[in-house]
């Protein structure tokens, strides 16, 4: 319920969040990037200028003068130097070939700048790179040698055509560049060179430019693309981070409710003011143990025995009609602190059924909580120490969960288990459904399945144990736990052959459960009838065709009776001290009621077993003694904390508070 109460905004709603901002950032970044790449001139004009024009600060008006053609502008600086080739010259005279045809100032104006220190710079429109090539020819003054890209020539020439003269102007090995291949016939404007009379210098510069063009490929075209991609990526990041921020805020707004870990020390029961109760079911939903019910529009405490003393119902009541009142202290639970550490033995932690809080789900929570708490109290592990940091007794739900938490915390831990992993689950009736928690108590760790049969849960746990390589030693029964002088624990265990094994650990988690000590039937049992009294039901199928008497009416008893009732020809009779259902899950109760109604199970209330004889059980009801014929008696009247074991570990029974 609590989990449902805070809906996570679905990705549908979040998909567009921050998209405007992302788009705006991408747009601004794109323009900024272009400004960087092209310069302000290029940003506002048709494109950037190459190095010589930029250095000479030609500007727009340098070339673009009103009333004058571009060619005239070129000549005004560079002087007239028409082409040396007759065909080109003829084209130029017809106006079909101008300066800009080969030297497109904003798009393809490439070349090599030879500096006086011998360095050569390859430049293009909007870009220049220091080639690192040191030419043999060192120019007396810095010169620029323009390179015309093949693209300018291919309007007329075709380098692939045999006999086309342009092939002679291209360098070998640069076919991959395509139209960007530089042409290296520098004799286009020879007359200009001869008039100036610096022939040797010119030849040297040409040679050096050829050398540079051969080693450094052109790279000028499309330099804007990386900037655009970058800007787009930035937009994506902004958009993504907006959504991540929202998720973070949402998680902060709705903190996960604390899982229940510790039962209360005193008996508590809810009290309901019937004149103000709305009958809204809020408390019924909040209660994890189905204690409350709504009858005639008002909540009532239907199964007081199951009340764990938590105040969830009180917290959920919308108008304060329900108050939890305190009663007698509970005296058959070991006392633990809020972190599940034993009050009597510091460093010893308890988890699972031992603490008196039922349900597998709680055991899982407690195992993890105890280990997380104790990890904070542990000193940093000294290097080379072989001593265990944590020893876990019992590999049930609490033990496995503790071992998983220890792995998560990086502790050196080991689990000792007297029989096999999850033996308590194995002993459940075959096919038992394990689940049913109406409240959304968050489950720590990964052990929980939403709804599963015993077999499914067991399979999942065994998978987890294997996957995480948990150190679990089966068949070791812990006989003693002592505290050493340094605060460490010395644990003694017996293996199946009866050999003693010793362990040392800094902390111990006791998660051995109560299964080992079921509450016994305190009536005379004839010696020859002892074999027909059972305290656990492993597989109902083994009782097929028999007459079975089930003693008790708790969840375990009801589930066992139902499982037995499903077997062919099995006659099941439930013997129960009280009248009506005082405890148990609503689902079990309704299923059992139906089975009783349909005649599949007989329910004898207000009845007490007086004696078990071979093939017979004496049952007293309202003073009258009945003899019921039966082949087996299944006793399911709860379990006791294993006090003898606990006391050996130093945990003392709490004395009732009134005598303190």
């Amino acid at each position: 319920m609590k989990l449902r109460a805070a809906p996570r905004t679905s990705s549908d709603v979040l998909l567009g969040r921050g998209l405007w901002l992302g788009a705006a950032v991408a747009a601004v970044a794109a323009v900024a990037g272009l400004g960087w790449a092209l310069g302000p001139q290029g940003l506002w004009g048709p494109g950037p200028q190459s190095r010589p024009h930029a250095r000479a600060a030609v500007g727009c008006s340098g070339c673009h003068q009103s009333g004058a053609s571009i060619a005239d502008s070129c000549v005004s600086c560079h002087g007239p130097h028409p082409s040396a080739r007759p065909a080109h010259r003829a084209l130029a005279q017809r106006g079909q070939l101008g300066c800009a045809t080969c030297h497109a100032a904003h798009t393809a104006d490439e070349g090599v700048a030879l500096l006086t220190d011998g360095r050569a710079i390859r430049y293009g429109t909007g870009w220049e790179t220091d080639t690192g090539v040191v030419t043999r020819y060192v120019a007396p003054t810095a010169v620029n040698v323009p390179l015309v890209p093949l693209a300018a020539c291919t309007r007329c020439h075709d380098p692939s055509r045999p006999g086309d003269p342009i092939a002679a102007c291209l360098l070998a090995g640069q076919e991959g560049l395509g139209d960007a291949r530089p042409t290296v016939c520098f004799d286009e404007h020879r007359p200009v060179a001869t008039t100036r009379g610096d022939r040797p210098a010119r030849d040297g510069a040409w040679e050096a430019a050829r050398e540079v063009a051969a080693t450094v490929p052109a790279g000028g075209r499309g330099r804007t693309a990386p900037w655009l991609v970058g800007a787009f990526g930035l937009g994506l990041v902004v958009w993504g981070s907006q959504r991540a921020l929202w998720r973070l805020r949402e998680r902060r707004r709705a903190p996960a409710p604390e899982p229940v870990v510790r039962p209360s020390d005193v008996v508590r029961l809810p009290q309901i003011d019937t004149t103000t109760c709305l009958g809204c079911y809020a408390c019924v939903d909040a209660c994890p143990y189905d204690v409350l019910e709504v009858r005639r529009f008002v909540a009532v405490v239907a199964r007081p025995d199951d009340c764990c003393g938590l105040t969830l119902c009180e917290q959920h009541c919308p108008n304060g009609s329900l108050v939890v009142r305190e009663g007698e202290p509970v005296d058959d639970r070991p006392r633990v602190t809020d972190t599940l550490e034993s009050v009597d033995v510091p460093g010893l932690y308890l988890a699972g059924d031992l603490t008196g809080l039922p349900l597998i789900k709680n055991a899982i929570n407690q195992g993890a909580m105890a280990v997380r708490a104790l990890a904070k109290t542990l000193p940093k592990k000294p290097d080379g120490s072989s001593r265990l940091q944590l020893l876990i007794v019992g590999a049930g739900p609490a033990g496995i969960s503790a071992a998983l938490a220890a792995r998560e915390q990086g502790l050196a831990a080991m689990v000792l288990e007297q029989s096999t992993v999850a033996a308590s689950i194995r002993s459940f009736p075959r096919g038992k459904l394990v689940f049913d928690q109406p409240l959304g108590v968050p489950v720590v760790g990964e052990l929980w399945l939403e709804e599963a049969t015993k077999e499914e849960l067991l399979a999942k746990w065994l998978r987890i144990v294997r996957r995480h390589e948990l150190r679990i030693r089966e068949g070791l029964r812990v006989t003693a736990i002592e505290r050493g002088s340094g605060g460490e624990f010395r644990i003694t265990a017996l293996d199946p052959e009866g050999n003693e094994q010793r362990f040392e650990a800094e902390r111990v988690v006791l998660a051995s459960g109560r299964r080992g000590s079921p509450r016994r039937l305190e009536v005379p049992v004839d010696p020859d009838a002892e074999a027909q009294v059972y305290y656990s039901l492993a597989d109902a199928r083994s009782f097929a065709g028999q007459r079975v008497l089930v003693v008790g009416l708790g969840d375990s008893a009801m589930e066992a009776a139902l499982a037995l009732g499903r077997q062919p020809d099995t006659r099941v009779t439930i013997v129960h001290r009280g009248d009506g259902f005082r405890r148990g899950k609503a689902r079990n109760i309704s299923e059992l009621s139906r089975a009783v109604e349909a005649g599949r199970i007989e329910l004898r209330q207000n009845s007490v077993v007086r004696r078990v004889r071979r093939g017979l059980v004496e049952v007293e009801r309202n003073g009258a003694l009945d003899e019921l014929a039966c082949d087996a008696v299944l006793v399911q009247i709860g379990a006791l904390p294993p006090w003898s074991f606990l006391e050996r570990a130093g945990v003392r029974r709490p004395t009732p508070r009134s005598s303190e």
Binding site: A26, P48, C280
Partner: protein, 771 residues
């Protein structure tokens, strides 16, 4: 009908109200009203919602019903001065069993039953008197139930009374098993409310045999024959029924032998009618509808999303969140395949988490403060100011369609005063069909028009046949034809657009057209406003809060008639966007070619082409991917659900494999697991255009070929495993396709942002420089 003020004390003289104390009378009087009926004027009709009971103050009221198996109405009783009627309302969620109309001009008092019941318990009345009153009311209701059922026809007054003495009310929650095949049959059930599914079970496989509703009798044949139950019965919704013990039924049959034949005939007729419909559709692909028939039976305005055209953009949920603060629509849930009456074509429909405005709304019944109300047109809504945040409705809704959300305008939890009524931090919220607006936001904002609000019992062909009998489906095929025409026009426009783009690009690259003069310049100039209109599409649909037209308050109550089905407002705009986008692409190609020069216009060109590419890919994806995705999904999932879903399916796989025969385990390990884990397996599934069901058949064929007929008896559980591994194999495909569909829009929007600013620069420099 007129309404004089005040409730006369006379009302409280009625046997049902006599035990109320002063406080309770005040509460009841405040909630009740007096009605004047002219002669022949009805108080209510059969099937109306029953939540009030009536006391006659003057005149008389005749109660009639058509009994099961009859075709004429017969008078059940006449209520005169001081009598009460309409007690069936004491059964929660009930609808009227009889129709009531004034024999002569009558004055009647109408008392809301929930108020009465609560007042009775809260007041100082003793437990005994409360129980007595309630028993009396229930007995009156039981009489009406029996009288209007098939039993009532054959039985006389005395026999009916005798049965009534022995009858007992039973209530079963949704999903509860009422009786099981092979159980003893101690009593028969006369159903007063809800839906009961009869099914036979063999080896854990369930076969639905029929449905029983109000007025039907269940299990009577087995009871009378003294047999064990031959079928199982499961309550599909909250079920209220009268249990008639065997002895009572037997003695009734002994006294009226005709009863047996009558009951038998009704059962046979009903069975045949249903078997025809359910059976026929079960053979086809539409059996999904019957998986949760109750849901579809009670839904009055069910939100469905057509999966074959839904592009999973989530605009529906987003628009809902925009208008209500929190989205009341979560786009995940079950999928059904059914035939729509309007188009006659089978459609894959997603039933997302959104209120379906049930006829007998469980949330409404369970609300302790009456905060949940209903509009005359059927919209169920929550009054936040009355909500105590108790979440009873959240619990009551079987489909999780009510959520708790922070109370609007509430101070943070820490600053809140101690719990007092009405100030809880959370309130319940759910879809109210945007009752303050003229049309639901989700429907209006859907860019593909895939969201429909339907009344399943009318709009789904097979349900219409089941509930209202077979007949010509309403509506004709008009919407289907328009839909097809629209699709064809769009395809044509896309083709034409692409040809134009090619032409423009060719002309530009050949140097025939230049951007700065003539046709090229003209293309650029024309493209500019087109670009702005294209961008406007995005701005418009995001502003749903502003353009969604509000409904006038006063108008709402008077609109008793059904408004025409709301249509999407954004869908036509998307069509325009697509067509205009293609045209702009052609113009852009003509104006600027490929671009790519190191200049602003070059950069603009690059972005333009990237933007167009995402647009073109988007058109293609929107046309094809939803269909592909629908083929390989069983449930609707959001992208964030996939990791968990994978885990869930794996859990299911291990569960399905545990406890199976050695053969199945070996098969699972050698064939099925590698099959499920194959990294690119989904690609084959998607490109092979196979549905999950076809893929299952293929896998079964593969297994059969491997086994060559061996292991016949060890194959138990194999079908389940195959189902699961096929789902697992499809899962990455669903992820990729969902991502592909949803990833395009953000990319397109980001590029559009860049494009617009660059376009601005380009225009500025073109105008400023003139070059």
């Amino acid at each position: 009908m007129t309404e004089p003020a005040g409730i006369p004390d006379e009302v409280f003289a009625s046997p049902l109200l006599r035990s109320l104390d002063e406080r309770a009378r005040r509460d009841v009087a405040r909630a009740s009203r007096v009605l004047e009926l002219g002669a022949g004027e009805p108080a209510y009709g059969v099937g109306d919602r029953a939540d009030t009971l009536f006391v006659v103050l003057r005149g008389s009221v005749r109660l009639e019903a058509v009994r099961r198996g009859e075709d004429r109405a017969s008078t059940m009783r006449v209520a005169r001065r001081g009598d009460s009627f309409g007690e069936e309302a004491t059964v929660p969620g009930a609808s009227r069993l009889l129709s009531a109309w004034a024999d002569e001009p009558a004055t009647i008092a109408e008392v809301p039953v929930t108020v009465l019941q609560r007042a009775r318990v809260r007041g100082g009345a003793t437990a005994d008197s409360v129980e007595r009153d309630e028993r009396a009311a229930l007995r009156a209701a039981a009489r009406d139930v029996l009288d209007s059922s098939a039993l009532g026809r054959e039985l006389g007054r005395d026999e009916l009374d005798m049965l009534l003495d022995r009858a007992e009310w039973k209530h079963h929650r949704r999903g509860e098993r009422v009786f099981s095949q092979g159980d003893d049959a101690p009593f028969a059930l006369v159903i007063a409310g809800g839906l009961l599914q009869l099914q036979s079970e063999h080896d854990g496989r369930v076969r639905v045999c029929g449905y029983l509703a109000r007025g039907d009798v269940a299990g009577d044949d087995d009871v009378l024959a003294g047999r064990k139950h031959s079928l199982s019965a499961v309550a599909q919704g909250d079920l209220f029924a009268l249990a008639l013990p065997r002895a009572a039924l037997q003695s009734a049959v002994d006294r009226c032998p005709a009863l047996l034949a009558g009951l038998g005939r009704v059962a046979v007729e009903r069975g045949e009618a249903q078997a025809g419909i359910v059976g026929e559709f079960e053979r086809g692909a539409t059996q999904h509808v019957f998986r949760d028939l109750y849901r579809l039976q009670v839904a009055r305005s069910l939100l469905v999303i057509e999966q074959d055209s839904c592009v999973r953009c989530g605009h529906c949920a987003w628009a809902c969140a925009e208008t209500h603060g929190e989205s009341h629509l979560v786009r995940r849930g079950d999928k059904i395949v059914t035939q729509l009456s309007s188009t006659g074509a089978p459609a894959s429909l997603l039933l997302p988490n959104s209120c379906q405005h049930c006829e007998s709304a469980a949330c409404m019944v369970d609300c302790p403060t009456g905060a949940i109300g209903r509009e005359p047109r059927g919209e169920v809504f929550i009054r936040a100011e009355l909500c105590t945040g108790c979440a009873a409705c959240v619990r009551a809704c079987p489909w999780d369609n009510v959520q708790m959300v922070p109370r609007p305008g509430a101070p943070p939890a820490a600053a809140r005063a101690e719990t007092a009524v009405g100030t809880s931090a959370l309130v319940a919220a759910k879809c109210d069909l945007c009752r303050d607006w003229q049309a639901p936001a989700c429907v209006s904002a859907c860019p593909t028009g895939s969201i429909l609000r339907v009344d399943p019992s009318r709009d789904f062909s097979e349900l219409a046949a089941l509930f209202h009998g077979p007949g010509p489906t309403a509506g004709g095929g008009a919407p289907g034809r328009t839909e097809k025409r629209r699709a064809r026009a769009l395809t044509l426009a896309s083709g034409l657009g692409l040809v134009l783009v090619g032409l423009g690009l060719g002309l530009q690259q050949a140097g025939v057209v230049e951007p700065s003069r003539g046709v090229g310049l003209l293309a650029g100039v024309v493209a500019l406003p087109a670009c702005l209109v294209l961008a406007g599409y995005g701005f418009f649909k995001r502003g749903v809060r502003r353009w969604l037209p509000r409904r006038e308050r006063g108008l709402r109550a008077t609109l008793a008639e059904r408004a025409p089905a709301p249509r999407s407002r954004v869908a036509p705009q998307l069509d325009v966007h697509v067509v205009l986008g293609l045209a702009t692409l052609a113009l852009g190609a003509l104006h600027g070619g490929f671009g790519g020069r190191p200049s602003t216009s070059g950069a603009l060109g690059l972005v333009f082409w990237a933007l167009s590419l995402t647009g073109l890919v988007g058109i293609a994806a929107y046309r094809t991917l939803p269909r592909w995705l629908t083929r390989i999904e069983r449930r609707g999932l959001l992208p964030e659900d996939f990791p968990r879903e994978r885990e869930r399916v794996f859990d299911r796989l291990y569960r399905a494999a545990s406890g199976k025969s050695e053969l199945v385990k070996v098969l699972a390990e050698r064939l099925l697991l590698p099959y499920a884990r194959s990294p690119l397996g989904w690609l084959g599934l998607v490109l092979g255009r196979r549905t999950l069901r076809e893929e299952e058949a293929r896998l079964h064929a593969r297994i059969d070929a491997m086994l060559e007929g061996r292991g016949g008896d060890q194959r138990e559980g194999l079908t389940d495993l195959v189902r699961i591994v096929v789902e697992l194999r499809a899962l990455p495909g669903r992820r990729v396709l969902t991502l592909a569909l949803r990833g395009l829009v953000p990319v397109h929007v980001l590029l559009a942002g860049m494009f617009l600013l660059l376009l601005l620069l380009h225009v500025a420099s073109a105008l400023g420089g003139g070059r």
